[in-house]
């Protein structure tokens, strides 16, 4: 073989040692999520590399927000030989239950740089209130 094309040994070692750790991202639940709580809203961030906005579906029903979709496979030429394939095509589905009332009509989402950001505003009843002492 004229052309060598290997994952360097250093990285192989690292993979073995961290076999199930977060260093091997393909083994984590997909998509990875952050949930950030603010005074007036909750922001959910999902890592969705390789997805266009039409590949993602967000629903909200009975206090549960569900994120689902499918990552399409790369279009590769027919005569191509695959050397590394870590990116498995898969559908995904993750749900988040809210423990407070949500202003469902104002939920918004934005996908940029492979990061989906869903802003879920709190309903008036769920916002923190300051009570004045008379």
């Amino acid at each position: 073989m004229l052309v060598r094309f290997d994952v360097p040994r250093t990285l192989n070692t690292l993979f073995e040692d961290f076999a199930v750790s977060e260093l091997a991202p393909s083994t984590r639940s997909f998509p990875a999520l952050d949930i950030a709580e603010y005074e007036n809203e909750t922001v959910i961030v999902a890592e969705l590399p390789g997805l266009k906005k039409e590949d993602v579906k967000i629903t909200f029903e009975e206090d549960v927000l569900t994120l689902s979709g499918e990552r399409k496979p790369y279009e590769i030429p027919q005569d191509a030989r695959v050397l590394i394939n870590e990116n498995r095509v898969r559908t995904f589905n993750r749900s988040i239950r809210f423990g407070h009332d949500v202003d469902a009509n104002r939920i918004s989402a934005d996908l940029q740089n492979g990061m989906l950001k869903i802003v879920v505003p709190k309903a008036e009843s769920a916002k923190p209130r300051t009570i004045e002492v008379k």
Binding site: L2, L11, S29, D34, A36, P49, D79, N87
Partner: protein, 132 residues
Amino acid sequence: MGNNNRVALVRVGPKSLMKRPEGLENIIIPVTDVYETAEEFVLKLDLPGVEKEKINITIQPERLSIRGEAGTTHRDEASLLLREIGVKTYYREFNLGEGIQHQAARAEFEQAVLTVILPKTDAVKAKIISIR
């Protein structure tokens, strides 16, 4: 990313699982696909959360290294209920054999997927044809 970090990557014992080498605490190896055609090698790496400007691709005769810095996702006042993403540095390197036209390497970045295309030299292409 110089040689220092490379040395640090060489050996990380299983018992050090909780404690990564200094400076590499947040290193993530990006999920990668690589395929080869008669004309070129194509690498595709997931770099979610990375701006195009924060990607650094270095190609040397024997090594291609790719580094990307993902920015912070949340405002300061956030209280995090779940944190699976975090702030990350992506890093991965690949050993390259002979037969790659380094000068002609090119890259694209779309939907947080970095595509690096490494065209083969004519000598290698010719060799492949003669094998067939």
